[in-house]
C-alpha cells in the first residue's frame, strides 16, 4: 500500500506557483487535480529558493505582478535550469526581458483547459527533450565503448606477442568498462601461469591470497572435473600487481562489488581467464563488451601460438638440414678413407710391384678396381648434390666456349666408347659466342650425359654431340618439360647428346631428373651408376640459368638437351 503511494508521489507533477495574490493561488489549486499534480504556492523569496533547490519542481508558474520578479528570474534559472517556467501576465504585451526565461505565457483571461493544456504540452516537451538527451548520452557512451573496442582490436591485430595481447586486453577493459580491479589468470604471459592483478588501489597480502584462491576456484569450475590444460596451485602461482593509486587501499568489501568472469579460450586452446570488479553495477551492455574483448583476444592468441609453433618448427628444420649436411660430410669422409686404402692396394698389386699377375688375377683385380672407382663416384655425387642443395657449391664463372668443353669430353670418353664398339661424333656450329659458365661443371654435365649414352647404347652404334646458337623462341622443348622450364628471351647455346640406345619409356621421362630415379629400374642397374648424375646435371644447369630436358622413345634412343643463355649470368638475375 505504502509503495503505491510512494510511486504516485514520484509520478505526480510538481508545480510551484509564485504569487503574492491569494486568489491566484486558490484558483490554481482548484484547476489542478490533486491526484496528478502536487501544487505549492509561495511568495517569500527565501522560502522559494529553498523549495526550488530541494524539490526541483517540474513547473514553476510565476506571477509577473510579484515584486521581486527580476531577482527571482535569474536565481531560479540558475537553481533549476531544466524546470519549465511559465509566466502569468495580465497584459497582452510581453515583457521582452521575460522571453529569455519563459517556456510559455498564461494570461489572466485564459480558460482552465487552456492553462492545463499549456502546462501539459510543456511537460511533454520537457520529457521528450529529456529522453532525447538520455539517448544522446547512451549514444555517446556506446560510441566511446565502440572506440575503445576498436582501439583494442587494432592493438590485437598488431602483435603476435602473447604477453602483450593479454596486457592490451586488460587495458581495453579498463578503457571500455573502467573497472576497480581485474584478476587475469594468464597461461601465456610467462612459462608458468601468472595472476595479473590490475587494481585502482593497493591490495593487502591477505586480499591477494583471497583473490588467488577465488581465481583458482573460478578456473577449476570452468573444467568441472575434466582434465585441465594447466594445474594451478595457489602456493606456487606467481602474482603480478599493477596498482593505479598505491596511496589508497582496497579492503575485503571489494567482494561486495559487482563482478563478471570470462574464460579466454578458442576451441581447444585455453589461454586463461579474467574476472573484473566494479563498484557500480555492470549493465547488460557492459557484459556484452566484456565478453567481446575476452573473445576478441583469443583469436590473435591462437595465431600467436601457431606462429610460435612455426618458428619452432623452422628452427628444428634448419637443425635437421645442418645435421643432414654434417651427416653426409662425415659419412663420405668415413667411406673415403677405407676406399683409399682399397684403391691404393689394388694400384700396387696391379702395377706388378708385388710380383707377376696372372690373366685371371688381373681380371678380378680390374673388377675390384672398377667397383672401387664406382663407389668413389657415388660418394662424389652424393657430396656434390648435398653441396648444391645446401647452396654451398662454389662456381667459377668465366667466359667459356662450349665447343672446347665438347672436344674435351669427346677425347676423354672416346677410349671408353671405342672399347664398347661405339663411335662418338660431333656436329658443332663453328664460332659460337662464349657463355659465362664454370667450364669444369659443364664438363661434369656433358661427361655425365655422354657416359649415360655409352652405358645404354648397344655395340656398333653412334653417339652424336651437337652444339648450336638458337633464340629461346625456337628452342624445341617437348610437352613433358615445357611447363617446368622457363627460359628468358634471347640467345641460348643448345647442346644435344643423341644416342641409339634403349631409350626411356614415356611414363619415366618426367622422372628422369629425379634423385635415384635409375635405382627403380633393374635393367639400368646392370649398367651401373648412382641415379644422381642427371639430378646433379639439372641443378648445375639451373645455377647457370639454363635448363635440361630429354626426348626419348623406348628402344629407339634418347636425345638429351641442355641450353645455357649467352648473356652474362648477372644480366639475367
Amino acid at each position: 500500500m505504502n509503495i503505491i503511494k510512494f510511486d504516485k508521489i514520484i509520478n505526480m507533477v510538481k508545480i510551484l506557483v509564485i504569487s503574492e495574490r491569494k486568489e491566484k493561488c486558490n484558483y490554481f489549486n482548484t484547476i489542478f487535480n490533486k491526484n496528478s499534480y502536487d501544487l505549492e504556492c509561495l511568495s517569500d523569496e527565501n522560502l522559494i529558493y529553498d523549495t526550488v533547490s530541494a524539490d526541483n519542481p517540474d513547473v514553476i508558474i510565476i506571477d509577473t505582478q510579484i515584486s521581486s520578479l527580476k531577482n527571482l528570474n535569474k536565481k531560479i534559472k540558475n537553481l533549476c535550469p531544466n524546470t519549465i517556467i511559465i509566466y502569468l501576465t495580465s497584459s497582452s504585451v510581453i515583457d521582452k526581458e521575460l522571453i529569455k526565461y519563459a517556456n510559455a505565457f498564461l494570461t489572466e483571461d485564459m480558460s482552465d483547459d487552456f492553462i492545463i493544456s499549456t502546462i501539459n504540452v510543456n511537460l511533454r516537451m520537457k520529457s521528450s527533450l529529456e529522453m532525447l538527451s538520455n539517448s544522446n548520452k547512451d549514444l555517446a557512451d556506446s560510441l566511446y565503448r565502440l572506440n575503445a573496442l576498436y582501439t583494442t582490436s587494432s592493438q590485437f591485430s598488431g602483435t603476435l606477442d602473447k604477453a602483450k595481447l593479454i596486457q592490451y586486453m586488460i587495458e581495453g577493459m579498463d578503457k571500455a568498462l573502467s573497472f576497480s580491479l581485474t584478476c587475469t589468470l594468464s597461461f601465456c604471459t610467462e612459462e608458468k601461469p601468472v595472476l595479473i592483478l590490475n587494481s585502482l588501489y593497493e591490495l593487502s597480502d591477505e586480499l591477494i591470497e583471497a583473490l588467488k584462491l577465488r581465481t583458482i576456484l573460478n578456473y577449476n569450475s570452468l573444467f568441472d572435473g575434466k582434465k585441465m590444460p594447466f594445474e594451478v596451485n595457489s602456493d606456487t602461482l606467481k602474482v603480478v600487481k599493477q596498482i593505479k593509486y598505491p596511496a589508497s587501499r582496497f579492503t575485503f568489501s571489494l567482494f561486495r562489488f559487482d563482478n563478471m568472469f570470462a574464460p579466454i579460450s578458442l576451441g581447444e586452446n585455453f589461454f586463461g581467464c579474467v574476472e573484473i570488479f566494479k563498484e557500480a553495477p555492470f549493465s547488460p551492455d557492459d557484459a556484452t563488451c566484456f565478453q567481446t574483448i575476452a573473445q576478441q583476444v583469443s583469436l590473435p592468441l591462437k595465431s600467436a601460438t601457431l606462429y610460435q609453433e612455426i618458428i619452432e618448427a623452422n628452427i628444428k628444420l634448419a637443425k635437421l638440414e645442418r645435421l643432414k649436411s654434417e651427416f653426409i660430410s662425415i659419412v663420405s669422409h668415413e667411406l673415403r678413407t677405407p676406399l683409399t686404402s682399397i684403391k691404393n692396394s689394388l694400384d700396387i698389386l696391379m702395377s706388378g710391384r708385388c710380383g707377376e699377375i696372372t690373366e685371371s688375377a688381373d681380371k678380378f683385380l680390374s673388377m675390384a678396381m672398377r667397383n672401387a672407382q664406382r663407389l668413389s663416384g657415388i660418394i662424389n655425387d652424393l657430396l656434390d648434390l648435398s653441396k648444391i642443395e645446401a647452396g654451398k657449391m662454389d662456381f667459377n664463372f668465366a667466359p667459356t666456349n662450349i665447343n672446347t668443353v665438347i672436344d674435351y669430353v669427346k677425347s676423354a670418353l672416346s677410349e671408353v666408347a671405342k672399347s664398347k664398339g661405339l663411335t662418338i661424333i660431333t656436329e658443332q656450329e663453328q664460332s659460337l659466342p662464349d657463355i659465362s659458365a664454370d667450364a669444369q661443371r659443364l664438363e661434369q654435365v656433358l661427361t655425365n650425359l655422354v657416359s649415360n649414352a655409352i652405358k645404354f647404347t648397344p655395340e656398333n652404334k653412334t653417339i652424336t654431340i651437337s652444339s648450336k646458337l638458337i633464340n629461346s623462341k625456337n628452342i624445341p622443348i617437348n610437352e613433358y618439360f615445357k611447363d617446368n622450364i622457363k627460359l628468358c628471351d634471347g640467345d641460348y647455346i643448345l647442346v644435344c647428346v643423341k644416342d641409339e640406345g634403349i631409350g626411356i619409356a614415356e611414363k619415366d621421362l618426367l622422372h628422369a631428373f629425379d634423385k635415384f630415379a635409375q635405382i627403380e629400374n633393374s635393367l639400368s642397374r646392370k649398367a651401373g651408376g648412382t641415379g644422381l648424375g642427371l639430378p646433379i646435371a639439372k641443378q648445375l644447369l639451373e645455377a647457370h640459368k639454363g635448363a635440361i630436358w630429354c626426348d626419348s622413345e623406348l628402344n629407339k634412343g634418347s636425345e638429351f638437351y641442355f641450353a645455357i643463355p649467352v648473356a652474362k649470368i648477372e644480366q639475367l638475375v
Binding site: N344, I348, A372
Partner: protein
Amino acid sequence: MKKILIVDDEQDIVESLKFVLEAADFTCYCAYNGEDGLRLAKEIIPDLIILDVMMPKINGYKISRLLKYDAKYKNIPILMVTARSQEEDKLIGEETGADEYITKPFELDEVVKKVEQYLK
C-alpha cells in the same frame, strides 16, 4: 736418400704410401698420430711431410701451423692429405701454410709424382 715423413692415423694408407715411395727410392718415416708426427718431424727434420688432417691428439692443421711458423722447419714442404673436400677446409689448409692439398681417394702415382716435383 731423401727422407719423407708420413703422418696418418690410417695405418693402411701409411703402409701403401710407404710402399710406393720406398719403391721410388725415398726413405720413409711413419707416425700414426699428430703428437708422434710433430715429435718425429723435429727429430729427423725430413725433406718432405705427407700429413693427414683428421687425427687424434693433434690435427694436421695444427702441426702444419706449428712447423711453418718455426724458422727451423718452415722450408719443409707439406702435402696435406684428407678425405675432406669442403672448400673452406682447403682455405684453412692454405692458411696453415700447407704447400699442397690432396683429397682422398688419391692415385698413389700422383702422390709420388708430387713428391718428386718438390724434391727435384
